[in-house]
Symmetry: C2
Subunit: 183 residues, 2 copies
DNA sequence: AACTCGGGAGAACGACCGTTCTCCATGGTC
DNA sequence: GACCATGGAGAACGGTCGTTCTCCCGAGTT
């Protein structure tokens, strides 16, 4: 197993464990036994647990935004593309191992103690906000709408994480539809 | 110092520390030294750390909802009362030691490992949702609106916690105003 | 004055965890 | 075959933390 493969396996295990059980309740030994990557190799690839957490959040950020964009790109109509964001949320919430937003959870867990993790969470949220702002602008809608839709999406994520229901996505989408018509 | 006073002091320290630095990075010894309540007494009052966390969340829940209701009760107009929720959020976000929503943070930290804490978070959110639903009903507005306003409020709380800005409250309030007019 | 008892200070215990180290096997290279 | 680098398994180390225990003090009681 070469270095790149070991890295992927380690990140796969880290994502599964950190996302599923929280960062602090998962030990490096759990990552080792789940990934099959030895502790020695793990520490060569990621010199500390905090760096592994960062790498996990980074890879997940890329993938999450790719999946969102892929979903939005199924549509051409600019307003429909805005609403497609909420369709994607609903799909995400319905995944069997959905446990809320990884970044919101990580911020609750580590935001107060790890500035690096906190910064990565802010970067992810900012990127999502910027993407939403672009969709809104492409639809010729006013800038202020983006911030409002962003809050609806965040509210849906938190609520879905706490209640384990998909329904917040649909409610957020309704509200988004009303806001689109109101402005 | 009698038992009731020790309990209050312990909860004061627990709230300050758990809310400010997160539950897991605060030891029982920190609670002891901050509160001045000895470890022995602490364990008499709260037989485990988890029970102390629950008691902290419970007392904070009561106070938080009281403060919200007090703010709303400054107004008589039913629609104004609904919007006053967002005024209260803004006031809260501006407090100097604001670190986001205590329940969202606790859920991110302990939701996956402590069913008791997770249940308490759900109870708090449900109570907030029910309060909002009552304000909406009292204003003669449709039920569906309550869920939408709830998501805006939750989105504002998460975002304010992550960015440390008060502005999400104002944006949520704008969106809420539009939704009130739209239905 | 002796006794009791709740409580304080802090040591002690046991478990866990992030990180490093030891020892050994393996496979490529000369 | 000798040598070396690489990496695996897992022990070891140092620190932290939740929880309990020991020892002692002081106040109230008889």
């Amino acid at each position: 197993m070469d270095s790149a493969a070991a890295r992927e396996r380690a990140l796969d295990a880290a994502e599964e464990l950190f996302y599923g059980r929280g960062v602090q309740s998962v030990g490096m030994d759990d990552v080792r036994s789940t990934s099959g990557v030895s502790l020695k190799r793990l520490y060569q690839l990621f010199p500390s647990k905090e760096l592994l957490v960062e790498a996990y959040l980074e890879r997940r950020d890329t993938r999450w935004r790719e999946q969102l964009a892929a979903h939005v790109d199924r549509h051409e109509d600019p307003r429909r593309r805005v609403l497609a964001v909420f369709d994607r949320l609903e799909e995400w919430f319905a995944e069997p191992d959905f446990r809320g937003c990884a970044w919101i959870n990580a911020h609750g867990e580590l935001g107060a103690t790890s500035p690096r993790v906190a910064a990565r969470v802010r970067a992810h949220k900012q990127a999502f906000h910027a993407y939403l702002a672009r969709l809104v602008a492409d639809a010729g809608l006013p800038d202020t709408l983006a911030g409002q839709l962003y809050l609806l999406a965040e509210g849906a994520m938190v609520t879905a994480g706490i209640t384990r229901a998909t329904e917040p996505a649909a409610r957020a989408r309704e509200a988004a539809g009303l806001l689109l018509r109101a402005v």
